[in-house]
Subunit: 302 residues, 2 copies
DNA sequence: TGAGGCATAGAATAATCATTCCATCTGCCT
DNA sequence: AGGCAGATGGAATGATTATTCTATGCCTCA
């Protein structure tokens, strides 16, 4: 139904014009031929597309100061079977304006290259690279500035920064720890060595902060540890793939980096980037402009 | 709220948070308390907000593979009077996203050009993300297919794969090791623990392979170890930033990933991607199509 | 093993909604 | 002036839709 609007009339004149745009043109075109009441509706429709998209016939009629039946007649006059069909076009505008969403993005990605033949190593590389690019773009759009600032604020106040990331997320944790230390912060990497993970909980206080990184399927130890930190009152910054993740509960700031539906393999590219931004952002806020800190970092061994 | 980090868990529904955002958080917060079916709906709602906004109860139920009544129960569980009320919130997201689409897009474009103001965390994030994107593009172009194939060939013949990456390159090494092990390869991460790095050289043979990752300024231990492996006749795959790098000598395959001149901080995004391609490419060549390996990987804890 | 409490599915119901119909009105032509 | 065609308002209708209800299944705990 929604997928195939099935408009009987009002076919798009040019393929590149959106259904909504061509509808606007169609309305403008027929405007001189319309009756008085229908003109009122036409004006209202062009001026309040959102109302047209979301309202009921009665609501739209009331707002346009006409009778409900006139609305239906208006739809008929444009070649639609009824108001419902007309409304679909207005709704398509809202959908198009909404955040692109991963799925659509990936669809575009798939269209670009012939990703099917993965037996060629170079195509595989191209595929991972593309997925990484998409995830980076998405990262920019999905991360809220306020969250970044709050996270950096928490890190700035913290006496020590505990970094928790196990399994596949460990590289992210390691990178964050590395950068933080290079920038002069007291960072503690919880690496699970010697099975003393729980002991760290006992040393952390509410004056510290925990940055927990975990993606589906969530590492059991990470899932277990986060609530224990929370119970001790340690502020928590969570980097995960969904608000439904087990490490979200109790977190003060949550960075949601959704998985790409068709990703062959989680790339960790976006989390790495985010985490790096946190560390460097912290330094910039606390100290001096970026260049100075970057210089120090660049001259350290890798 | 922010002034006094009292942390009641989850983010406070401050005024600047949109109704939609706080709904998302509300759903996440209650998620653990929900029943099975309601959790399915919660996941669907967070993943398909547009469907929630525009669909009827029956349609949403069908797409989420649940009964219509469950949808209504879900709305009740969140404190709404019914699905209609819940839907209003999802619609508000569409409305909010639609109107500023033009104006904001232009604002965003203008922001793109001025990366100078790095004091804003979000701009910093955008900057890192952009650098990552560029480095990924460069990676695709600069890496030669023949090198990939030779590297994969060496790894395929190897009895064990030694992964050497210290300092800033350690996350790359950790990631490679993780993926290799998940794919059933014998991978040995040289992490420097216990100062027994040199001992690994004694166990490696010409039937093994070393993948060494190091970037300027090169980690001394890595620089020292690579020739020792070479002296024992162990094949070497080098991932570094220049052909003049100290780990290039004696390497059988060299992947050169140059630093970006204006980069604030090396992002490690490209090496991560390359290394992942090597691991997955190895599996594809040796075994079956990608999907199988990816499935196994996806079901492992992170 | 059996009883009790929840969760669920599916049908029944109540509400809402789009659409149609018809009486009335308006303007126009003869 | 009278008749006609189209337009309009408002109520009636029929369809769609949200919501409620109840029987059934499932799990838990005694």
């Amino acid at each position: 139904m929604r997928k195939h609007p099935k408009r009987s009339g009002m076919q798009t004149k040019s393929a590149q014009l959106s259904a909504y745009d061509s509808l606007r043109e169609g309305i403008a075109q027929r405007y001189p031929l319309l009756s008085d009441r229908l003109r009122v509706i036409a004006e209202f429709a062009l001026e309040h597309p959102t109302d047209m998209a979301l309202g009921t016939v009665a609501e739209v009629a009331a707002r346009a100061k006409v009778q409900p039946s006139a609305i239906v007649r208006f739809a008929h006059a444009l070649g639609f079977g009824g108001f419902t069909e007309l409304q679909q076009v207005f709704r398509s505008r809202l959908v198009a304006g909404a955040v692109p969403s991963y799925r659509e993005r990936i669809d575009g990605l798939r269209r670009d290259g012939s990703f099917q033949d993965s037996s060629n190593p170079h195509e595989l590389l191209a595929r991972f690279a593309s997925e990484g690019t998409v995830s980076l773009e998405n990262l920019q759009e999905s991360v809220r500035d306020a969250d970044l600032k709050r996270a950096i604020g928490l890190m700035g106040q913290a006496h020590a920064i505990y970094v928790l990331g196990l399994g596949g997320s460990f590289p992210v944790a390691a990178h964050l720890t590395y950068v933080l230390r290079r920038l002069g912060r007291r960072a503690i990497l919880l690496d699970g060595l010697g099975n003393v993970l729980v002991d760290h909980v006992l040393t952390a206080t509410r004056r510290d902060v925990v940055i927990a990184v975990s993606f589906r399927p969530y590492n059991p130890e990470t899932v277990q540890l986060v609530p224990e930190f929370h119970a001790r009152g340690v502020p928590i910054i969570a980097v995960t793939d969904s608000l439904l993740s087990p490490i979200v509960h109790g977190a003060d700031v949550v960075f949601e980096i959704p998985d790409m539906p068709e990703a062959v393999l989680r790339t960790m590219v976006a989390p790495m980037c985010l985490v790096q931004s946190l560390a460097v952002g912290l330094t910039i806020k606390a100290n001096e402009p970026l260049t100075s800190g970057a210089t120090r970092l660049a001259s350290s061994p890798r």
